[in-house]
């Protein structure tokens, strides 16, 4: 038996070895228990790293990081402090209010149409996720809707887009500073994803206009119904988005 190099053992543990070379390493490990124990430990290390840190992928992205990714100027220190107080993330209008008041320089670009902007950011952050696109999967749809309804303090429902080829993937809870926010995610057969962002915002009460915005390449259709704000975001053709939004609007109308 030719000696299997240390590098090859690592490649085996990391799943980076071509299939044709695995058998050779496995034969070596069967005959060398000490190496086998080491490789097993390395695999366990990788698994433990994922167990310890993967949940960060699901954490809301702090708003100051979203700003850092979208602005060329260095944020004023006072804004950074304010953002830390606002804490969580993709924040609601109230949160921006606090931030702008305490910041040395107002940040006008983020105060425009906050619902569509927030929804587009949340869409861009979570829709590319492969491992963790949603917190609760669609097969637990009843639980998902009940859970998000409870957290938002209002009876929600997830629109059915199957007639348009989009299936519910699941949903997640985000924490806007104006309160909790629900995000439902849908996917079509080609892997295109759209998200419906739902927040409760009493300030918007009474407005029921149906609006469109384009935020950095993300199509957003949004509307207010009673004290609920809805925004449908996607990087798909505008005509498709329009049909999806119409469907959601009709289904969600109270």
């Amino acid at each position: 038996m030719t000696t299997v190099t240390e590098d090859k053992l690592h490649a085996y543990a990391d799943g980076l070895l071509p299939p044709g070379e695995r058998a050779e390493v496995e034969a070596w490990l069967a005959a060398h228990p000490e190496d086998e124990a080491r490789v097993r430990a390395w695999v366990a290390q990788n698994r433990r790293l994922h167990e310890a840190y993967d949940e960060i992928l699901n954490e809301p992205v702090p708003v100051d990081l979203l700003r850092a990714a979208t602005r060329r100027e260095r944020a004023a220190p006072s804004w950074r402090a304010a953002a830390a107080i606002v804490a969580a993330l993709i924040t609601g209008g109230v949160g921006y209010g606090i931030g702008v008041k305490t910041a040395a320089t107002p940040q006008p670009s983020l105060t425009l149409t906050p619902l569509s902007r927030e929804a587009a950011l949340a869409h861009v952050v979570f829709s590319p996720e492969i491992r963790h696109p949603v917190e609760v999967e669609a097969r637990h749809a009843d639980h998902l809707v009940a859970w998000l309804s409870k957290r938002l303090g209002s009876q929600l429902s997830a629109p059915d887009f199957s007639a348009l080829g989009f299936q519910l993937l699941g949903g997640r809870l985000l924490s806007g500073s104006a309160g909790p926010v629900a995000q439902f995610m849908y996917e079509d057969a080609a892997g295109h994803r759209v998200t419906l962002y739902v927040r409760r915002d009493a300030r918007d009460r009474g407005e029921t206009g149906f609006r469109h915005a384009r935020e950095d390449g993300v199509e957003v259709f949004y509307w207010i119904d009673g004290d609920m704000g809805y925004a449908l975001s996607g990087q798909v053709e505008r005509a498709v988005m329009q049909r999806l939004a119409d469907t959601a609007y009709r289904q969600l109308a109270r």
């Binding site: 430990a41 433990r48 950095d216």
Partner: protein
């Protein structure tokens, strides 16, 4: 600002890596923030079509190394002596370290980086070498030494278990 949305997609993974690397949530987010700001200011240098994610990790690596170096300078230590200090630390904590984060913190930064880029972020060895700007052979030897030390830390030495019982 289309480039901004490109960057946003990578924030969750940058945060995960930075958290594991620094072991501290707010230090990690500061590192991510600095990385994003650096990325925006240097975006012209990034070649479209090449791997944006790998480029962001290499920017973060450079910032992290500078931090480690200046911290080392403050305490009048050269970067290469950090390795020995970490060894001493791991010998002191000879009983099994249950928390993988604590075990990682006992490793020299250069080994921690390789273990995380490969094991957590799932970059290949050649990609990891490019991110860190070192030869692939260096990546492999850091990986080997780091994983072995991590194994000792997580499993504990038999002798130290006896000490603990006493």
């Amino acid at each position: 600002m289309g480039s901004g949305t490109e960057l946003i997609q990578h924030i969750p993974r940058l945060r995960r890596y930075a958290r594991a690397l620094t072991g501290d949530a707010s230090r990690a987010d500061d590192l991510v923030q600095d990385t994003l700001e650096r990325a925006l200011s240097k975006l012209d240098l990034w070649r479209p079509g090449s791997d944006l994610r790998a480029w962001l990790f290499s920017l973060m690596h450079n910032l992290f190394v500078n931090q480690v170096r200046s911290a080392a300078n403050r305490s009048i230590q050269a970067l290469d002596t950090l390795d020995e200090i970490a060894v001493e630390g791991s010998q002191i904590t000879a009983l099994a370290v249950r928390d993988i984060g604590k075990a990682l913190a006992c490793l020299p930064a250069e080994q921690r980086e390789v273990i995380l880029l490969v094991g957590l972020e799932q970059f290949g060895y050649a990609e990891t070498a490019r991110i860190l700007g070192v030869p692939q052979g260096t990546v492999m030897s850091r990986l080997s030494r780091g994983r072995e030390r991590l194994r000792q830390l997580l499993e504990g030495e038999p002798a130290s278990r006896l000490k603990m019982v006493k």
